[in-house]
Symmetry: C2
Subunit: 481 residues, 2 copies
C-alpha cells in the first residue's frame, strides 16, 4: 500500500493503494467513484480545533498548521516551478507524486480574488468576492486538476492520456499533456461540433476523434479503450484531478489571511468541483488550520438541473435530464459526481439553487461591468446568490466568495449576442421582473454607428455625460456642444 495516500470508494468505502486502481477508476466491488485519502486526513471531525480521531492514532502525525502557513508563504518568494504553482505550493496536503521533478506544471493557480462591490450592493450584501479560476493558463479551473492528474500519469509512465469532452477539460488535458511530452486523445460526438471549443486542444497538439455516437457512447468507448490499452483516463472520474481542484480553498484562505468566509458559491455541472473545494476546506479544518468550514452552495442552470430536481424530489431519486443551456460548461444532464456534491452540500450546510437563462445573462453582464470577465457558466453563481439572499439563507453580513470557473474569452459569441440584443428570446425575457428588465437595459451596450464628426459624437454621448464634471485637473475646460 502506498505510504502517502490511498483511494477510498465514496460508495462502499472500500480502499486500495493508488497504484492498484483499475484503468476506468471505478470500484470493482460497486462501480463507485474513488477519492484520495491520506493517513492524516482520516478519522472523525471535531467541532473545533484538530481532529480527535486522527490525533488519537499514534502512527499519524497531523501536518502542523503554523509551520504550513509559514512554508506556503515562503514558497511564494521562490523561483522554483513547483513553488510558483498555486497547486503544488500546497503539496504537503496533496502528496500524490513521489518525485517533485516529475510534476507537470504551467504555473496554474495563484488566481485573483476580486472584490465585486457593485454586485454586492445590487444583491444586498456587504461583502462579495470572486475567486477567478478562469485566470488559469488555459482559461478555466480545470487546470488545477489537470496538473495533478497529469503529474500522476507522467510518474506512472503513461505515454497517452484521453478524455471525452468538447470544452474546458480537453483544453486543459491537451496543454498539460503537451507540457509532459505525452500524447493526448480527445473523443467527441460526431455532428454538431462547436469548433471554437476545440481550438485549444488542437493548438496544444491533441488528437481529436469524432465518434459516430453520442456523448455517453464516447465515454463507453473510452472506458473500453483504457481497459485494453495503457491510456490514462482523465475524465472527471479520475480522483487525482480533484486533489488539484481542492487547492483554491487554500488560496482563498491565504488571500483572506485565514479568515474563513461564511459562504462559497459554485457553479454545478458535472459536480466534481464543489466536492473538491469542500474536501479542501474540510481537510484544512481537520488538521486545525481553520476553526470551521464555510458553507458551500451549488447553482445549476434551469435547463441542466438534475441535482436541483433531486433536492426537490420527494423520493430523492436522481433522474438524468436532457441538458439545454447556453452556459455550455455546465450543460450536463447526467453528472458523474452528483453523489459527491450532494454529500458535500449536506456536510457543509449549503443549498442547491437554479438560474434561468435570463438570470445568467444578467449576472454575467453585472460581473463584466466590474471589469471581471467570465464565461456564462461562472455567472450562475451570482444569479443563484440573489436567490439565496432573497430566501434569507444568506444574510447581509455573510462574507460570500463566488467561484468563477472560466474566462470570458471562452465564449465570445455569447457576450456579443447579449450586448447586441440577439441572445435572449422574448419567452426567456417574459420571466424577468421589472427590476431585472431595468438592469438589463442599463447593462447592455449595443454599438452605435455615427458620422465621424465630433459634434455628432458628443451629442450622442450627451445623455451619458450629463453628470460629468466641467473641469478636470490638468485638462482644458470642457466646451459645451
Amino acid at each position: 500500500m502506498s505510504a502517502t495516500h490511498q483511494l477510498r470508494c465514496t460508495n462502499c468505502a472500500g480502499r486500495i493503494a493508488g497504484e492498484a486502481v483499475s484503468a476506468d477508476f471505478r470500484c470493482p466491488q460497486c462501480q463507485g467513484l474513488y477519492e484520495v485519502v491520506y493517513p492524516w486526513s482520516e478519522g472523525g471531525r471535531s467541532e473545533g480545533g484538530r481532529s480527535e480521531g486522527a490525533a488519537a492514532s499514534p502512527d499519524v502525525r497531523l501536518p502542523n498548521p503554523s509551520a504550513l502557513r509559514w512554508l506556503w508563504q515562503e514558497r511564494r518568494t521562490s523561483t522554483m516551478a513547483v513553488d510558483q504553482s498555486g497547486v503544488w505550493r500546497f503539496r504537503d496536503l496533496l502528496p500524490i507524486v513521489a518525485n517533485m521533478d516529475k510534476v507537470v506544471t504551467l504555473r496554474e493557480g495563484n488566481t485573483p480574488l476580486y472584490e465585486l462591490p457593485k454586485c454586492a450592493a445590487s444583491v444586498g450584501i456587504d461583502w462579495l468576492l470572486a475567486k477567478h479560476q478562469g485566470m488559469n493558463p488555459t482559461g478555466s479551473f480545470k487546470d488545477t486538476g489537470m496538473t495533478a492528474a497529469l503529474s500522476v500519469a507522467a510518474e506512472r509512465g503513461f505515454e497517452w492520456v484521453a478524455c471525452a469532452s468538447t470544452g474546458n477539460t480537453s483544453a486543459a488535458m491537451a496543454a498539460y499533456a503537451a507540457r509532459a511530452g505525452l500524447r493526448s486523445l480527445v473523443f467527441i460526438p460526431d455532428g454538431k461540433i462547436a469548433w471554437g471549443k476545440l481550438s485549444q486542444s488542437m493548438d496544444y497538439g491533441a488528437m481529436t476523434v469524432q465518434l459516430k455516437t453520442d456523448f455517453d457512447g464516447c465515454v463507453r468507448l473510452l472506458n473500453e479503450l483504457v481497459r485494453r490499452f495503457p491510456i490514462y483516463l482523465l475524465n472527471s472520474v479520475n480522483p487525482y484531478r480533484l486533489e488539484g481542484q481542492k487547492t483554491p480553498a487554500m488560496e482563498i484562505l491565504e488571500q483572506l489571511e485565514w479568515q474563513v468566509p461564511e459562504h462559497i458559491v459554485v457553479p454545478g455541472g458535472n459536480l466534481a468541483n464543489s466536492s473538491a473545494l469542500g474536501k479542501g476546506f474540510q481537510e484544512l479544518k481537520h488538521i486545525g488550520m481553520i476553526p470551521r468550514t464555510p458553507k458551500i452552495s451549488v447553482i445549476q442552470a434551469e435547463g441542466a438541473n438534475p441535482l436541483y430536481r433531486w433536492y426537490n424530489d420527494a423520493n430523492r431519486e436522481m433522474k438524468p435530464v436532457t441538458a439545454e443551456t447556453r452556459a455550455t460548461a455546465i450543460r450536463i444532464g447526467n453528472p458523474a459526481s452528483w453523489q459527491k456534491a450532494a454529500r458535500i452540500i449536506e456536510q457543509m450546510d449549503g443549498w442547491c439553487e437554479q438560474a434561468s437563462e435570463q438570470e445568467i445573462a444578467l449576472a454575467k453582464a453585472q460581473i463584466g461591468a466590474e471589469g471581471v470577465g467570465c464565461e456564462p457558466a461562472s455567472a450562475v453563481t451570482l444569479a443563484g446568490l440573489k436567490k439565496l439572499v432573497a430566501q434569507g439563507r444568506i444574510t447581509r453580513e455573510d462574507r460570500v466568495v463566488l467561484i468563477l470557473t472560466g474566462h470570458t474569452l471562452k465564449d465570445s459569441a455569447y457576450t456579443i449576442d447579449y450586448h447586441r440584443g440577439a441572445l435572449l428570446t422574448a419567452e426567456e425575457m417574459a420571466g424577468a421582473t421589472p427590476a431585472e428588465r431595468a438592469l438589463h437595459a442599463s447593462m447592455a451596450k449595443p454599438p452605435m454607428v455615427l458620422e465621424a464628426n465630433s459634434d455628432v459624437v458628443l451629442r450622442a454621448l450627451e445623455p451619458y455625460m450629463a453628470g460629468m464634471r466641467q473641469s478636470v485637473s490638468g485638462m482644458p475646460q470642457a466646451q459645451p456642444v
Copy 2:
C-alpha cells in the same frame, strides 16, 4: 513641476510636468511623443555598475538595488492588492501615482516564464524561454500598461477614458475603466467589424462607437474630442502605459534570479512595447541592479513591416504600408512609436526581422505543442528567432526570452483553420522549405471521424502508438489489436 516624474519629448527633449501635458499627449513644440523620466533615471549611462551621471548629482538618490530586490521579494508574500500586482510591486521604479489607494488593478503581471525545450532544439539553441504576457487578466500584455494609465486617469479625476482600437487595447482599457468606476469609449471604423475582437470591451461595459471613417479618421476624431472635453486618451501615445509595460523586465530578471539573458525578442506592431521593455532594462542597469542589458530584437509580419523596410531602406525613410496579415494584433501599417522602437533596437544592439504568414503559423503550432497557447502575433517571435539564429546573430549559447503578447483564446478561428488545413494558401506555402513542410505536417492535427468501435479507433491510432511501451506500471498488459 512634479516631485516624482516629468515628461520628456522623445523628439525635441523638451520637458514638462506630468500634470501639464496636453490632452492629446503630443509635444506642443514638435508634436513628438513623450516618455516619463524620473530624477533617478536621468544622466549618462555607464558601462557597468551605477550611472556616474546620476550619482554625480547631489540632489538625487538612486534607488538602492539590494534594498529593492529584498522589498520586491517580500511584497510577493503580501495580501495587499498593490503588492499582488506584477506592475505595482515594482512601484518604486514607476512613481507616477501619489496615492496608492487610487491604483486600479486587476492583479495583472506575475505572468509565467515558460521553458520551450522543443522549440529551442528545433531552432538550434540550448536555452529558450517564453514570457507569457497573454496570461494577464484580459489576455494580453496591454493590461500592464492600462493599470498604470488608468490609475493616473483616476487620480487626476477623469470620469471618461477613450481609445481607438478593435482589439487588445480596447479590451484592457474597458476592464480597467470598469474597475475604476470610469466610463469608457471605444472608437472603431464602421464596416468590417471583427465582433469577436470587441466581445471583451462590450463585456466590461465600454460604449462602442462605429465611426463612418477609417482607422486614422477615428484617431483624428478622438484627438479632437479629448481637446474639447475631459476625456482621458488611452491610445499608445499615452506615456504612462509604457511605464506599466516596462515591468515585465523586472519580472523576467526576478524569475531568472537576476541573471541577465542575452536576448529578448518582441513582436512589432505599434512598436511601443519593445521600447517600454527596453526602458525597463535600461533603468535597471542605470541604478545598478544589473551589470548589462540584454539585446532586444523586434519581429514584424511580412505584410505589416514598416520598421523592417525602414531598416532596409538606403535612405532610412519611414513609409507607412497597407498592413495585411492574419496576426491581427500587429496588423499596423503606420506605427505611432516607430522612432522609440528604432532607438531602443539601436541602443540595445538588436535587430529587426520579418516573418511570413507560413512561418508565423508554423511557429504558433510549435509553441502550442509545448502546451503554451498564444495568439498569432506572439508567434512571430519564434519565427524571427529562427532567422536570427540562421544569420549567426544569435548563437547556440545565447539565452533567449520570447515575449508572447496574447492568449491563444484571443483568436480561436486562426487555430481551427490551421489544424483543419484551411488557413494557408498554396501561394503562401510555396515559400516553405522542405523542412518547414515536414514540420507543418507533423504539427497539424486535423480531427478524425471514426465509427464508435474500439478496434476501429485503435487501428486508426496504431501509426501514432507504434512506440508505445507494452506495459505500464499499475495498468493491465496492453492487448494487441
